[in-house]
């Protein structure tokens, strides 16, 4: 089992009570994952940063609604997923999932995957329908449970499982074709 990716539950509560340093800890802890998710959903760094910034500002403004018995991670990703949908809808005329700016490529080599193959993965990901890409990213890249994914997306578990399966089937075929 992969280690938990959630944060100490006391930190969101401190942020809720007005502790800006605690809020900064939240941003520091989650922003890479948020950026990654937003980038793969939106395709461009600028859009991703906009979505992530909007997400955290919205989180800050509504921390009072965060229940002490709730987990922060799915709450955050629910807001982020909605922000991404908003940005994507606004800019849907953009068709290509072209990443801009400098991307750290070291990880691909560390995983034993060539840069070419990584680009193929990203190209295949881009071609997935948005709801399948969302489900695949949440499940396989962000390591979230289906229960958390249901909270984030508002979609039923069975439908989410089917989306992930279809995404994996498509990716598998595409990646094998490229080999």
């Amino acid at each position: 089992m992969r280690p938990s990716t959630d944060i100490d539950p006391a930190i969101p509560l401190r942020a809720r009570d007005g502790d800006v340093e605690a809020f900064a800890e939240l941003v520091e802890f989650f922003h890479v994952r948020c950026l990654r998710y937003a980038r793969y959903m939106l395709g461009e760094e600028e859009d991703a940063e906009e979505a992530v910034q909007d997400t955290f500002v919205r989180v800050y403004d509504h921390l009072g609604q965060f229940r002490p018995d709730a987990r922060f991670e799915p709450w955050l990703f629910r807001i982020l997923a909605n922000r991404c949908r908003t940005v994507r809808e606004r800019r849907r005329r953009r068709e290509s999932l072209v990443t801009t700016g400098e991307l750290p490529a070291v990880a691909a080599e560390a995983e034993g995957m060539s840069q070419d193959l990584l680009e193929e993965v990203e190209a295949a990901l881009e071609e997935l329908p948005a709801e399948q890409r969302e489900a695949f990213l949440l499940r396989h890249v962000e390591d979230l449970s289906y229960e958390d994914m249901a909270v984030i997306t508002g979609v039923r578990l069975s439908a989410l499982r089917m989306r992930v399966k279809r995404a994996c089937d498509t990716l598998r075929i595409r990646l094998k074709e490229e080999r």
Partner: protein, 194 residues
Amino acid sequence: MYDAPDELIDRAAAALRRRHAPNPRLVSRIVALVEGRRRRWWRAVTWPSAPFSLSATATLAAAGLLLGFLSREATDSTGHDQPVAAQPGAQAIPLIPAARASGEAVPVPVQFTLRDVRASQVSLVGDFNGWSQTATPLEPGVEPGTWSVTVPLSAGRHVYAFVVNGKWMTDPRAQTAPDLDFGRANSVLIVQAP
């Protein structure tokens, strides 16, 4: 059966996971933004210097103070249409300050009332008090089961809810606006400047 181990998928996901690096510039920008905003605890809202007159309420309300639930977003998509009589009642009563400084935006005192004989503790949460469950408690009225509080609200759209015995509930007499981000509906109130 859906998430059976698959080396190719696992390697692809792992590579995607490591594709991004920390972005200190973005972190700084976000933190600076929220430090500039602070939480909206009664932000930009101050009471008028003179006490407002309860007796003036009806006259001034008839003269044009509008307190309504008119937002385009204020549609209960959940289809809740339960009879009000079966639920605690809630009512926002517009009051207006008797004096105001000329040229300044003057907050409008708004009274929130709730009728719920089961309630032992009631508070008001909303975008105007940072959604704090402790900032705005309702006081019990003379009549059993009645609760009320008056708060100064700036003109504009406000979103709020009651917390009754620790549980959030919308105002059964107000329009509700579903909030996709936070997973529950809230009540909507629009206050027009007097």
